[in-house]
């Protein structure tokens, strides 16, 4: 894939006093990618995003947006970015239309394109009906959507969204997710979130930040493969017969979780059909036979809860 590299971050460091918030983070974002940044609270996600959006100066490191160095030529680099911070930067005293028109002017959208740009952003974020209302009187979810509209208004190459679905209802979350996927086709998107299924639903790549360091970086396909299970969970009415199950071809070993429950480990092909046939033949009475999936949540917990530094390094 020869997609354009939209963001390249090299060895980013950020100190707050003596506290090291972001340590040696490097990554790239290509066109057509949706990058999910995960991490526990205070891991350095927001700091990283603030640095990429030019709101915070890095202590060391280099950020290039669409090939333009953010520190050398901030104006041109910033023109390529749409940024939604944790708290949407909306003026409560303005109406949605006034606010978006002002944002368009700030982002140097030409006069002729300003109207269509505002209309388009409003329509995409489901704001068409509230254009004339004061932002301060809108609900949190609508304010969040105004924030997203502001970020995509000027059609930037890169959209950075810090927890975009906070405060939205389930329907809006679905809308925003599909909006993100849609945007992801033509733009590069970085989004941070605490909601793990969101990452699985929207992102093409996942990075986990823990204590300021990048501890996990994989594409969604790699992750899927990693998460593909090699364990079957079996529960029957009659006590399990370990020796008989072990004889089924494909099963490497059996871990009994009680008389009637067991975990069957296999390597290549899923032997579920053979297991089912065996259980039926032996008259054990099948209650449950399922793949024991490892979820992103488990990966996340594994990486961010362990205090062992070697675990983090292995994963990275």
């Amino acid at each position: 894939m020869d997609a354009k590299i939209l963001i390249s971050v090299e060895h980013l460091y950020r100190y707050y006093g003596h506290y090291l918030a972001v340590e040696a983070i490097s990554f790239e974002l290509k066109q057509g990618e949706v990058l999910g940044l995960l991490g526990p609270n205070g891991a350095g996600k927001s700091s990283t995003m603030q640095m990429i959006s030019g709101n915070l100066a890095p202590s060391a490191g280099r950020i290039r947006i669409n090939g333009i160095d953010l520190l050398d030529d901030p104006k041109r680099a910033k023109a390529e970015i749409g940024y939604l911070p944790e708290q949407p930067p909306v003026y409560r005293d303005l109406t949605v239309d006034e606010y978006l028109a002002y944002c368009a002017r700030l982002h140097r959208v030409s006069k002729a394109r300003r109207g269509p740009a505002v209309r388009h952003a409003k329509q995409r974020c489901g704001l068409a009906s509230v254009g004339r209302r004061l932002i301060g009187n809108l609900s949190k979810g609508f304010q969040q959507r105004v924030g997203i509209a502001q970020a995509i208004l000027h059609n930037p190459a890169v959209v950075i969204l810090d927890e975009p679905t906070v405060g939205l209802d389930p329907n809006q979350i679905r809308d925003i997710r599909s909006l993100i996927r849609e945007l992801g086709e033509s733009h590069g998107i970085i989004l941070s979130t605490h909601i793990l299924p969101e990452v699985q639903a929207t992102c093409t790549r996942v990075q986990i930040i823990h204590q300021g360091r990048l501890v996990f970086a994989q594409t969604m396909q790699e992750l899927e493969r990693r998460l593909t299970s090699h364990v079957l969970l079996l529960e029957t009415r009659q006590p399990l017969d370990a020796a008989g199950l072990g004889a089924i071809p494909g099963i490497d070993n059996i871990e009994l979780l009680g008389a009637r429950r067991g975990r069957l480990h296999f390597t290549d092909n899923n032997p579920a059909d053979a297991v089912a046939a065996y259980v039926a033949n032996a008259g054990l009475g099948l209650v449950e036979l399922a793949l024991d999936r490892q979820t992103l949540e488990q990966v996340f917990v594994e990486l961010t809860c362990s205090d062992r530094p070697e675990a983090a390094e292995d994963a990275a």
Partner: protein, 250 residues
């Protein structure tokens, strides 16, 4: 880009009742001052008529009123400037400006221009009163123009100082109190007349008031103009530095 920000700032001021209230209150007090000063002039006029080269209506009515209005605006200006940056920081809306393709100087200049435009509007309304004297008498147009120019420069200085103080803190009230304190100090700094010659000279130069006085006398000197321009430039540069530094320290 500067004008976009300035216009927004000006419009934002009028969205809150504060700006309207200030316009109304200042206008009212100015009217009272103006009328009482006019009264004094009416009393003095018969005696003045006999004196050769006596001070005219511009000196007796307009100059003192403008002088008092200058001080009055010193009390009021911090209320206008206090919210410029502190509110944006508090509501986290400064992010919008910082992530837009706009430089820090453009942001500060835009805000300064917006606030100054508001002050000029205020000044225009105040100028209407002395101008109304044209209906009945002759005014010294040069003196009036110099006085208004002096007041305009003074107001622009108030704006620059207030904006800097607002960039320092997230609390509008603290910004108001500290810009009021600094402005008042600059106003009264030459009152310490008892010191040595060179010290009082310095204090005399630093004072906001002395430079306004020469404008009110109808004296347009580049030294006074330079004083105000330097003051404005200093505080605008300090504001830019302050905001840049905030980006560094987070």
């Amino acid at each position: 880009m500067i004008f976009t920000i300035a216009l927004r700032e000006l419009k934002n001021l009028f969205l809150s009742p504060l700006a309207w209230a200030i316009l109304a209150v200042v206008q009212l007090i100015m009217a009272y001052l103006f009328l009482s000063q006019l009264d004094t002039f009416m009393l003095l006029q018969p005696r003045l008529a006999g004196i050769e080269g006596a001070p005219g209506v511009t000196d007796i009515v307009v100059a003192p009123v403008l002088q008092t209005v200058g001080f009055l605006l010193l009390l009021v200006a911090p209320a206008i400037t206090m919210r410029v940056f502190s509110d944006e920081k508090r509501n986290r809306t400064l992010t919008l400006l910082l992530s837009a393709p706009v430089s820090m100087s453009e942001i500060v200049l835009g805000k300064f221009l917006g606030v100054t435009l508001f002050f000029m509007l205020l000044l225009l309304m105040l100028a209407a009163m002395p101008l109304s004297l044209y209906a009945g008498t002759h005014l010294d147009a040069g003196k009036l123009a110099a006085g208004l120019l002096g007041l305009a420069l003074l107001l622009a200085s108030f704006a620059a100082v207030g904006i800097f103080m607002s960039a320092l803190t997230e609390q509008p009230v603290i910004a108001a109190i500290s810009s009021f304190g600094l402005l008042l100090l600059l106003w009264i700094v030459d009152w310490s007349g008892a010191g040595r010659e060179e010290v009082t000279g310095l204090f005399h130069y630093l004072s906001l008031q002395t430079h306004l006085e020469s404008f009110l006398k109808g004296l347009f000197s580049t030294a006074d103009l330079a004083y105000y321009l330097l003051l404005i430039a200093t505080f605008l540069v300090l504001s830019i530095r302050r905001l840049d530094q905030q980006r560094l320290t987070g």
